[in-house]
Amino acid sequence: MEIRDLRVEFDVPAGRLPAVAGIDLDLRRGELLALVGESGSGKSALSMSLVGLNRGPTAHISGEVRFGGRNLVAASEKELRGVRGRDISVVFQDALAALNPTQKVGDQVAEMIRTHRKVGRRDAWKRAEELLGEVGIANPVQAARAYPHQLSGGMRQRVMIAIGLANDPAVLIADEPTTALDVTIQAQVLKLLKRLQAEHGTTIVLITHDLGVVAEVADRVAVMYAGRVIEQGTRDEVLFHPQHPYTMALLHSVPRVDGPHTDRLPAIAGSPLTGVTRPSGCAFAPRCAFASAGCGDHMPELLRRYGGSGHLDRCLLDEPARGRARAGSDSQAVAP
């Protein structure tokens, strides 16, 4: 899948809100790409627009999502229906809300199968039970007959994943699938995603704001800020050699068990851009401790600058300055 200059704007009372402000991103077959950013950075808007789930009278989506020889942004709703759930599916974050409360879990999995394949009711139900077993539900036959409210949070999220996998899609978008779960269940669900990636060769886009999750499962990482990717690279590149001051600050704000104990957790000063109007220069400049006059002129291109071959960023700092910034953000006092 290739994403080119994808833009998503929503009509709001104040004007047009650019949720995604021009994104270029390639998905490689079978990889697990983590999409990282604060709330409002556009990661959900980006992923929903890949299959047109945020289409609507107030949404303006432009650019290209090339997949299977066509552009999904320009595809008709009917064409998209054939792609959704079959080639690309989504695992939503709040499984209790995302599952139909009045349908048995087995029916909801079976519906996904029967929407895209000519399968009898009974066979689809059988397959649904198998899928529930495959995602690690201990008693799939019984679980299939349960309603969502009768299952635990972790089991509901597994059901969501079983629905997502039902037609063995090429791409699975997991939108913060572990946010609502406690830590042990979270680890189990991540492990499950990793296993499915390995066994089925599924390409997974994992949306998260949790860098711990990224460190655990991601192959590649794209960091988003104000509707743009500001840095992307392999997991190790981004986590251990961050190039963009925002990524550095994000990493710095992760509390560490072995770090100094302070009364306040480290935070990035200021707040992310949420307004309709955007500055002409780097969107992070107003919050950046290392910004200079040139940062306000124009948004830097997403280019390979000082990192590895696939390690891109949008920052004008030169290499020594980056080194100082990296060292600085580690020793920096807790931001106000």
Partner: protein
């Protein structure tokens, strides 16, 4: 595995509990009707004694004498407490007594009138649900277009029209001007209908008389539609709001993610989940529907419980009023038990309580 007990196992117990409350409701209601009737000015005895053809020639003394005799005969000279216990005893043994006028057995009168009213209200309910659901769903799907605005406007108007106005209007238009439909009664005498269950449709099947059905439907259309329209307008609004709410729910997005078509999403996911508030409204509105049936039956001379009730009140015919009120209350209570059961059928989350 953390599975709760499947709800269906507990459901019968809930039904039993709901039904157990019915006698209590009936007792409270019987008591209220008993008191209310006796608080009304005028007594059956006065009404009977004065109402006779010779009354104008009678002297005050003769009237008083008649009243005393009538009171004695009807047991109205006993203390209120005695009357009350007799009444409760009769109700408990399903003996509703006889009409003060003509001495008809009230159980038999109700046996004829109640099926007519049930037919009328159920027909009205079906029409109202059909109109309300369709217009409500269309308005929701075409939100903020002229279709939505028009539908809502018509809904509000029909919701605010009083039954008697609508009834009289439809009689004039469809009965008198256009002569499309009959406007009086339930079934023509010429058809020689011999009631068995008193439900025409059921009797037509049991007695193998299909020719009864069409005249019966023709007689039902105007009163049932009159009764239905205000409820339909109400249902339109509820359905529209409810469908809009469900459409914004996360599981509808999941259904879209699955690649389902708009129609399939509506059928399989939206309608069932948005029908809960509709069912609530049906249960509550059934009360006002019964109230409306009293008026509608009077306007259309339809031989139902409402007609019986009005005549009973006019003549201070206590047993009839008591019997009719009990019958209406029983109907209302039973409908609401059905509504509760519908809830359980529609929403599995309610079954565990």
């Amino acid at each position: 595995m953390n599975l709760a007990v499947p709800g269906s196992l507990r459901t019968p117990w809930m039904i039993v509990k709901r039904l157990a409350a019915v006698p209590l409701v009936m007792l409270a209601l019987a008591t209220m009707v008993f008191i209310a009737m006796r608080m009304l000015p005028g007594s059956p005895a006065t009404s009977l004694a004065v109402g006779g053809g010779a009354a104008s020639q009678s002297t005050a003394e003769e009237i008083a004498e008649n009243e005393a005799r009538i009171n004695e005969a009807l047991g109205l000279n006993e203390s209120l407490a005695d009357q009350y216990t007799t009444f409760l005893h009769d109700v408990a043994t399903l003996d509703l007594g006889r009409s003060f006028y003509g001495g008809n057995d009230i159980t038999k009168l109700l046996g004829e009138a109640l099926p007519a009213t049930i037919e009328l209200t159920i027909a009205a309910m079906l029409i109202a649900v059909l109109i309300g659901m369709v217009t409500g769903v269309v308005a929701a799907l075409r939100k903020d277009t002229w279709i939505d605005t028009t539908t809502r406007a018509i809904g509000t108007v029909s919701f605010s029209l009083p039954w008697f106005a609508l009834g009289v209007l439809s009689i004039v238009i469809f009965g008198v001007w256009l002569r499309w439909l009959p406007v009086i009664g339930r079934i023509p005498n010429a058809l020689d209908y011999h009631p068995f269950t008193n439900f025409v449709l059921l009797d037509a099947i049991l007695q193998d008389r299909p020719e009864l059905i069409w005249p019966w439907i023709k007689h039902l259309i105007l009163p049932a539609t009159t009764l239905a329209l205000s409820m339909a307008g109400f249902i339109t609004r509820i359905v529209r709001a409810s469908v809009l709410e469900v459409l914004s729910d996360d599981f509808v997005r999941t259904a879209r993610m699955k690649g389902l078509s708009g129609g399939a999403i509506l059928r399989r996911h939206v309608l069932r989940n948005s029908s809960l508030p509709i069912v609530t409204v049906l249960g509550l509105q059934f009360g006002s529907l019964l109230g409306g049936s009293v008026i509608t039956e009077t306007v259309f001379s339809y031989p139902g419980v409402g007609n019986l009730l009005i005549n009973g009140i006019m003549q201070r015919d206590y047993p009839i009023v008591q019997g009719a009120a009990l019958a209406i209350a029983l109907l209302f209570t039973l409908v609401n038990v059905v509504v509760d059961l519908l809830y359980l059928a529609l929403d599995p989350r309610l079954r565990k309580a």
